[in-house]
């Protein structure tokens, strides 16, 4: 554990999160491992319902309980067990050590408070500083994200979507967190504004050396900002590796399907190869490999045996039976198409 202190900002082991609902137990996260080295950015990629946001909320211990419950695993933040903290201690960690940027800038700001006051509130919660000093600091932070300081007395509705997201970024970074969780931070924004915001986040991160967990479904954004990538499907990590591992030697059929679903901007003649079927119902996950009903290489064994994690290289991990010995599953070609 000692070496983790230095190396990893975040280390998640075997995390499991479940939600008890009237329709049954939703198994949102099913034993995932994630780690982020200091100053690095990890991309967590997956579609709606993969469990990405639940994972993020677990790190802040904000999974709504009930109905949600973290049923297993550990989360280590800078060498300390996150589940050992009291609720009071968690409050000081949120915002100062770990902060989060949410997807929708329209709903994550308080509409009846000026943006300056909202940022100052965060500062005052974590630092011993008077109102006036906090407001000054808030103004400086707004300037840093490219908003004129004199607009700190305005309300969220007076800002555009891109500006609101900048306010949220300012708020998230004002206490110099060690880990920034960004949950689809640019999904609600137009492309030119998205480019501005990504550029800004990148610059600020370099300046402060913040580690980041970037949750997204956009592989284009991943290619641009991340160092490592984890691909998540139905509450499990199906493939993990460096950018090169994932983009150059794509190994899991689901990852392959994700790439096949994206129109190729350089070759418009190329046909899209979508993944057939739908995300599985999380209250009734398929047996064996959870991806098997949609996998074109699926063999009988995939229906019953849960794939273990196979190490393809020091950095590249994959959970697919095709990479385990003696399973008889092979990839490549067009399967049964």
């Amino acid at each position: 554990m000692a070496e983790n202190d230095v190396k990893y900002t975040l280390d998640i082991k075997d995390l499991e999160v479940q939600f008890k609902t009237v329709d049954g137990v939703v198994r949102a996260v099913n034993g995932i491992d994630l780690s982020i080295q200091k100053g690095q950015t990890l991309g967590l990629v997956g579609e709606t319902g993969a469990g990405k946001t639940t994972t993020a909320l677990s790190i802040l211990r904000l999974v709504p309980d009930p109905p949600g419950k973290i049923t297993g695993g550990t989360i280590t933040l800078e060498g300390k067990d996150l589940f050992a903290f009291s609720e009071k201690e968690m409050e000081t960690i949120r915002g100062s050590q770990v902060s989060m940027i949410f997807q929708d800038p329209m709903t994550s700001l308080n509409p009846v408070m000026t943006v300056g006051d909202q940022i100052a509130e965060v500062i005052q919660l974590h630092d011993k500083i008077d109102q006036k000093g906090a407001l000054e600091k808030a103004k400086a932070m707004l300037e840093m994200v490219g908003i004129p300081g004199n607009r700190s007395t305005e309300y969220p509705h007076q800002f555009s979507g891109g500006m609101k997201q900048r306010v949220i970024i300012a708020m998230a970074l004002v206490c110099n967190p060690h880990l920034l969780i960004a949950d689809e931070p640019t999904t609600a924004l137009d492309v030119t504004i998205q480019a501005q915001v990504l550029d800004l986040m990148q610059k600020l991160r370099e300046k402060y050396g913040t580690s980041m967990l970037m949750i997204t479904h956009d592989l284009g954004i991943v290619a641009e900002v991340c160092d490592d990538v984890s691909i998540m499907y139905a509450g499990r990590i199906v493939e993990h590796g460096t950018l090169e591992d994932i983009f150059e030697s794509t190994s899991h059929p689901y990852t392959e399907g994700l790439f096949g679903s994206l129109p190729n901007i350089e070759n418009r003649q190329e046909q899209l190869k979508p993944i057939p079927g739908l995300m599985p119902d999380p209250t009734d996950l398929p047996s064996g490999c959870t991806f098997h009903p949609r996998c074109k290489y699926c063999k009988d064994i995939c229906r019953s045996r849960v794939p273990a994690v196979t190490k393809l290289s020091d950095t590249h991990l994959v959970a697919c039976l095709a990479y385990e010995e003696g399973t008889g599953v092979t990839l490549g070609g067009d399967g049964n198409e």
Binding site: A223, E244, E248, P263, I265, I275
Partner: protein, 318 residues
């Protein structure tokens, strides 16, 4: 000219707001050939959806002409419009909001058939609904389910089946895949392409996603604040973007490939207000090449080379 299905001339749609007149669509002109797809791209508030709706008269145009198979849609009587609507359909962006939650799948898809009294009896209509469901890849067992029981992809398929019910010639697809996950998005895009091929449909495809529009369209029209800034074939637009806005827009797309750290043109500021716009190029306040003239004179949409239209005073110079 070849077989022109849709001919839009000087289409304008203004909205009166408490703060002044909002120029949502300002002088849009284009033609669209039968069986082709025109992609309309631009950012929020550029007027792309309003253009689509004004063509179908879901928004009554302020002025301008829309010729559909030679007939001016803006001038026809309500009776005739009713008939024309069966030929011109729309697929909406949000499959969660565009379906009546109190109707079953078969009622939703059968609604246009019922309204136009296409079939003599319920049995015939039901058979037609099942046929349509098969066409869009919806399994028959879903016929009596309600929209809330279905996921986004299936809901969008219902919207497509409903649009196809009257065998239209022309469909406005208003961000049909924006609300869907990538793997589902690809399924729907392939379905729309297949249908176009099989039924000879003509599409206007409205989207903010440039890689999707490139994949899907024959021609692309880029809009900015109610104006068309560039219009060309997809190949041309992506290979030789001419308008500074198009260039910035294309450079802003995050490409899912490594080692392509391309030079990104970061635009200054944000889209300005479309309310009572001043004369001059509407993109000028954000344009890195803007000169005094750009703030004084509105650039016309000119045909720079055959089939490539650009609205910029200095388009040849950079």
């Amino acid at each position: 000219m070849s077989d022109v299905l849709l001919d839009v001339r000087n289409l304008k749609k203004y909205f009166n707001t408490p703060n002044g007149v909002l120029h949502a669509v300002d002088d849009v002109t284009f033609t669209l050939e039968r069986g082709k797809t025109l992609g309309v791209v631009g950012e929020s508030g550029c007027g792309k959806s309003t253009t689509g709706r004004a063509i179908l008269r879901l928004h009554e145009p302020t002025s301008g002409e829309v010729f559909f198979e030679g007939k001016d849609v803006t001038k026809v009587s309500n009776q005739e419009m009713r008939h024309l609507r069966s030929q011109m359909q729309i697929i909406f962006q949000d499959p969660f909001a565009s379906l009546n939650p109190r109707k079953t799948v078969s009622e939703i898809i059968g609604e246009p058939l019922r309204l136009y009294k296409v079939h003599k009896n319920k049995k015939e209509q039901q058979d037609h609904v099942l046929e349509l469901m098969e066409l869009v890849g919806l399994s028959e067992r879903l016929v009596n389910t309600y929209p809330h029981e279905l996921d986004g992809g299936r809901r969008q398929r219902i919207g497509i089946a409903r649009a196809l019910a009257m065998r239209p010639k022309f469909i406005v697809c208003d961000e049909p895949v924006s609300a869907l996950d990538v793997s589902i998005q690809a399924q729907i895009l392939n379905l729309l392409k297949q249908l176009q091929h099989d039924l000879g449909l003509t599409y206007i495809f409205i989207t903010h996603d440039l890689s999707v529009v490139n994949y899907f369209s024959d021609e692309i029209m880029v809009m900015y604040l109610g104006k068309v800034v560039e219009h060309a074939s997809s190949e041309k637009l992506f290979e030789h973007p001419t308008h500074p806005y198009t260039k910035a827009l294309l450079s802003a797309i995050p490409v899912p490939k490594l080692g392509e750290k391309k030079k990104r043109i970061l635009l200054k500021g944000e889209i300005t207000s479309p309310i009572d716009p001043k004369p001059g190029c509407r993109f000028a306040p954000r344009c890195e090449y803007a000169r005094p003239e750009c703030f004084e004179r509105t650039p016309e949409l000119k045909e720079n080379e055959p089939g490539h239209f650009v609205a910029c005073h200095f388009s040849g110079e950079f």
